[in-house]
């Protein structure tokens, strides 16, 4: 069975949260594990699961499923513009190849993500397609290797359908900071999808792909998940290898994932998580089968913003030094070395990125280091401490994923401080290195059919399993809500 796209029903079924169907999720006590078989009975639809079942039963071919997604993608992409690079032909080929393998090798040929179309944020390196980080300075750059998270997805049978749009090098909260294009929110074409992983969120929201990878440095998975009405997970720092992720702020960067359900998100996390010898900061903490730990509902009973921007910009000023036009990417020729550096960087890097490089360079400069970088590190220590204390008393902390629903395109672009302030609900989680899951929880006024709003759940380090379990239960309480954007019913 294909993912549930009976648009008519979806469109009609969502409505605003009323006090009567609103549930409280302030603190949730430890949950018992439950058998995996209960998954299929949950109301929250798992696209991955249904794809897998159709492939195994022979009901549908990977080529059929892929064609379905690609036709929807071709229809919606002109207005949404999630992808910077589309690998549709390659995806079709891979799907046919998978069908051949299933035909000859049977069920053994079907990996956990076989036939699952994945969108990959363009700051994650992919060996056979361009990877730009959303920056003109890497226009035309093709990495020699796959990022570890991408490699693991492919090994699990996933098909990478393209590279999704983002704020340049992850710096932004609207995806308007892309060096290539502006992505719109599938719920309302006049609004942003959030950022910086806006392309990955909008692609899943518009069902252009099944799941997608993003990266979260200060909220870049969670805030767009909230804006686009999808599930977004920011894992614990070190849970997923950063190898192949173009570094923005190395001590805050985390590879995260999006899905239209908690089950899908859990499935992707199980595949991409785990130690990687290529990333010394990746954790060797055990990776559970997150999906199998999910529980059906019927079994159940209940300012760091400144510090963040200083630390993130400081690390960014260093991490982006490599984009110098010498070895790869855009080079502006000049008579002397400084001219070459200056020209290449001035032309290749966008406004927001240049501003953050300047801020970071300033914060790390002699005479300012103690007042900015060092002080921000001290704040970070305090943030960690207060989270730890809270998480000793509670299993999960909840908050909105963002202080508002999706902004209008252009609304924040000339007011960087307002845009930074929009990250206030998410950055502290990155400073503490904790995992957090965002699930759509309802709607607010806006657009033609309301705008989705996400709920953020924050857990202790490596408690992704717990977060996903609670998220899955939460999802099931919203059976009458559908988070499929109205765009899909049109045309």
């Amino acid at each position: 069975m294909p993912p549930p796209l009976q648009a008519q029903r979806l469109l009609l079924s969502h409505r605003r949260l009323t006090p009567s169907n609103r549930r409280r999720f302030t603190a949730v006590s430890s949950l018992p594990s439950a058998p995996a078989k209960t998954l299929a009975t949950g109301a929250a639809p798992s696209s991955i699961l249904s794809i897998r079942e159709s492939l195994l039963s022979g009901e549908r071919t990977a080529a059929d499923i892929t064609a379905d997604y690609l036709s929807r993608l071709r229809r919606t992409e002109p207005s949404v513009r999630s992808f910077i690079h589309l690998a549709d032909a390659a995806a079709e080929r891979e799907a046919e190849e998978l069908d051949r393998r299933i035909a000859t090798g049977g069920h053994d040929a079907v990996g956990p993500l076989a036939g699952v179309l994945v969108g990959v944020k363009d700051n994650l390196c992919t060996a056979n397609m361009p990877s730009t980080g959303g920056s003109q300075i890497l226009d035309g750059y093709r990495p020699a290797y796959d990022a570890t998270a991408v490699r693991r997805l492919r090994e699990a049978g996933a098909i990478v359908v393209g590279k999704t749009n983002l704020d340049e090098f992850g710096m932004g909260s609207t995806t308007e900071g892309s060096g290539f294009q502006v992505t719109t929110n599938p719920w309302d074409g006049s609004r942003v999808p959030g950022g910086s992983s806006g392309g990955s969120a909008s692609a899943v929201s518009a069902r252009q792909c099944v799941v997608s990878l993003g990266s979260d440095t200060g909220g870049s998975v969670r805030q767009p998940a909230s804006f686009c009405g999808v599930v977004g997970l920011k894992p614990t720092y070190g849970r997923v290898s950063r190898f192949g992720l173009m570094a923005y702020a190395s001590s805050l960067d985390v590879v995260g994932c999006f899905g239209s359900s908690v089950v899908d998100t859990a499935t992707v996390l199980s595949v991409i998580a785990g130690h990687d010898k290529m990333d010394s900061t990746s954790s060797s903490h055990d990776v559970p089968d997150y999906k199998s730990e999910l529980i059906p509902l019927d079994l159940l009973e209940s300012k760091p913003l400144n510090a963040y921007y200083i630390l993130a910009s400081s690390e960014a000023s260093s991490n982006l030094s490599r984009y110098d036009g010498i070895r790869y990417g855009r080079q502006v020729s000049a008579d002397d070395l400084n001219g070459l550096y200056g020209g290449s960087r001035a032309n290749g890097l966008g406004h927001e990125v240049k501003m953050r490089i300047l801020m970071g360079t300033y914060a790390l400069s002699a005479g300012y280091y103690d007042a900015y970088y060092k002080r921000a590190q001290q704040v970070r220590t305090l943030v960690k401490k207060s989270f730890n204390e809270a998480l000793e008393r509670y299993d999960i902390l909840v908050s909105p994923a963002a202080p508002s629903a999706a902004y209008k395109i252009g609304e924040k672009i000339n007011d960087p401080l307002a845009m930074y302030a929009g990250d206030i609900m998410t950055v502290n989680v990155n400073l503490a290195g904790l995992p957090a899951l965002v699930v759509p929880c309802g709607f607010v006024e806006g657009g033609s059919a309301g705008l989705p709003v996400g709920l953020q759940m924050i857990g202790s380090p490596f408690s992704e399993g717990n977060l996903l379990r609670v998220g899955h239960i939460f999802e099931q309480t919203l059976q009458n809500f559908s988070f499929v954007p109205p765009l899909l019913a049109e045309g």
Partner: protein, 586 residues
């Protein structure tokens, strides 16, 4: 005179001897990851250029005129690990540009450093060898600047917590420089990565980047400003080289850039505690150049001081120019460079355990300083001590020879004399020759017990070095056993006397000088195999005349060690009776 001895250092050679002063000067084969002895024989440098003599002498004289120099050194040691510091690329000096690179060491987007554990091991080894305190917890930091040979725009280094700190280095100055023991402080040792290299086109219109060297592990050793003269600084560098070779952490080759020294030189009036303005000197690719560059720089600064132009000494980097034997301004420092160091977020902290450090401590070989003190206690001269301890392989050969009961002084003489000369001519290192320490000890024993003469010994040595084999087999094969049978020697003496009646008459008449003539005749007839001691005693007996005198001589001979100890060879077993009965000298 001593200061002029350093000329000739650039001549490619192995094992030139400078009575204990050895400098790395040579370009060994490119594949060389092995350590080799490279040294210089000072006595060859009689024709040192006047300019150097003057410069260095002036510096020496100035010192006595109320000024002293303060010198500190930063040494970069390139580690000879199989792979680079943060990726799995190999590094081989001289390979095709950009042939040993990967996305990580080229600084491609998304790549991350992964620390090579061997680098930490090397750093701890060197830290311990330099008597440093090892940091149980240290970290990496980023040092940021833009240059095309620096792929990431920052160098991964260590800033405020180096892996080792507060140590010292002991050394002995060469005898001809006045000798003396010195202890120089070591401020810190830290780990970092090397940058690539720029290749400039001849026209100067473009440059190319070779990233083979990018990411190769380095240890930077910062000294305290404890040195006062060029030779002290050069010897400090040479001792570091010796250490890294003994430890096997680097080939220490200066020509390949595996060992690079940047020195800071300032001058101040004697008695003043404040340092003068320091000048950094780079581009010295031998220890001799370090010595000369520093002495030149000291001299330059003193002249400025004396001319009242001390303000002309500014904080700057100067380059040593070998052809003019001068230093030149490379760049003036406009304030302190701001490298915007901050902790490297891509690498976890380095946490060491005391077990780990103990394990490394136990695995370390005897170090040069301990070796020198041991050799000194054997009664060897400082000249011998410095020669032998200079090179790990030579020291090992020497020690192994001693393990076979060879006499230390004799073994030292052979190694420093004939063996060293051979190595020099053939451009070999001591571990490349076929002579084994066992056979050298056999050779020494064979001479000592009279089986062969010293002269024959030298011939055998060359044979053994070139072709191998045992002392015994060479002696037998070539019939080289010394003739120590008095009867046989006397027969030859008789023959020589008979052949030269005129000289015999003069000899008997008291012209004792002719003893040498007859000895020569006998040696010629015996092809050098006659025991010279015995021969001369017999010849001396002739002038004394009469059997009784001869008897005295022979009795004296009875106390010769070879007669009592007499091992395998028959001459030693000759009985006094036999000797007496054949002592017909007339």
């Amino acid at each position: 005179m001593a200061l002029t001895l350093l000329r000739g250092i650039r001549t490619p050679t192995l094992f030139r001897r400078n009575a204990g002063l050895f400098f790395t000067t040579i370009h060994p084969p490119l594949s060389s990851f092995t350590t080799r002895a490279e040294s210089v024989q000072a006595t060859e440098s009689k024709a040192a250029p006047k300019s150097i003599q003057l410069a260095t002498k002036e510096a020496a004289e100035h010192k006595t005129q109320g000024f002293e120099a303060v010198i500190g050194i930063e040494t970069h040691v390139q580690l000879s690990t199989v792979t680079k510091a943060f990726c799995s690329c190999p590094y081989n000096y001289g390979s095709q540009p950009n042939s040993t690179v990967c996305p990580t060491c080229m600084g491609h987007p998304g790549t991350l450093p992964v620390l090579n554990a061997k680098v930490v091991e090397c750093a701890v080894k060197l830290g311990l060898a330099l008597n440093c305190e090892i940091s149980m917890t240290s970290k990496f930091d980023r040092k940021q600047y833009f240059y095309p040979d620096l792929p990431k725009g920052y160098q991964i280094s260590q800033f405020d917590i180096p892996i080792a700190k507060e140590g010292y280095l002991d050394l002995d100055l060469p005898v001809e420089f006045g000798g003396g023991h010195r202890r120089f402080g070591v401020t810190r040792v830290h780990m970092e990565e090397d940058a690539g290299k720029l290749l400039h086109s001849e026209s100067g219109s473009y440059s190319q980047v070779d990233l083979n060297r990018a990411g190769v592990p380095l240890l930077e050793i910062v000294s305290e400003p404890d040195m006062r003269t060029g030779i002290e600084a050069a010897e400090y560098g040479a001792e570091i080289q010796r250490l890294v070779r003994y430890l096997g952490v680097s080939n220490g080759n200066m020509q390949e850039g595996s060992l690079r020294c940047d020195v800071n030189v300032s001058v101040r009036p004697v008695g003043q505690s404040k340092f003068g303005t320091k000048v950094e000197i780079k581009n010295m690719n031998s220890f001799s150049a370090i010595n000369r560059a520093i002495d030149y720089e000291i001299s330059r600064q003193i002249v400025l001081h004396k001319e009242g132009q001390a303000d002309q000494i500014v904080q700057e980097t100067r380059l040593w120019d070998e052809s003019s034997q001068k230093t030149f301004t490379m760049r003036k420092k406009e304030g302190l460079a701001d490298y915007r160091y901050f902790p490297e977020p891509d690498l976890p902290e380095i946490v060491l355990t005391s077990d780990y450090i103990d394990e490394i401590h136990k695995s370390m070989p005897e170090l040069p300083e301990a070796k020198r003190r041991r050799y000194e206690n054997m009664g060897l001269s400082m000249q011998d001590v410095l020669f032998l301890a200079n090179d790990d392989n030579v020291a090992r050969f020497f020690d192994s020879t001693l393990e076979h009961d060879a006499d230390a002084k004799l073994a030292a003489n052979w190694i420093m004399g004939d063996i060293a000369a051979y190595l020099k001519n053939e451009k070999l290192s001591i571990d490349e020759i076929k002579l084994t320490p066992l056979e050298l000890s056999e050779l020494i024993a064979s001479i000592k017990n009279g089986t062969i003469s010293g002269k024959i010994g030298k011939e055998i040595l060359i044979e053994l070095i070139a072709k191998g084999g045992t002392v015994k087999s060479v002696i037998e094969e070539k019939d080289l056993v010394q003739i120590a049978d008095p009867v046989a020697i006397e027969a030859m003496v008789d023959q020589a006397l008979a052949d030269n009646p005129k000289q015999l008459e003069q000899y008997r008449a008291g012209k004792t000088k002719l003893q040498g003539f007859f000895a020569g005749q006998v040696m010629k007839a015996s092809k050098g195999k006659a025991n010279p001691v015995l021969l001369n005693k017999i010849l001396a007996g002739i002038t004394a005349g009469g059997a009784s005198a001869g008897g005295c001589v022979l009795w004296a001979m009875l106390s010769l060690p070879w007669m009592v100890s007499g091992t395998a060879s028959s001459p030693g077993k000759a009985s006094p009776n036999m000797l007496l009965s054949s002592s017909n000298c007339t």
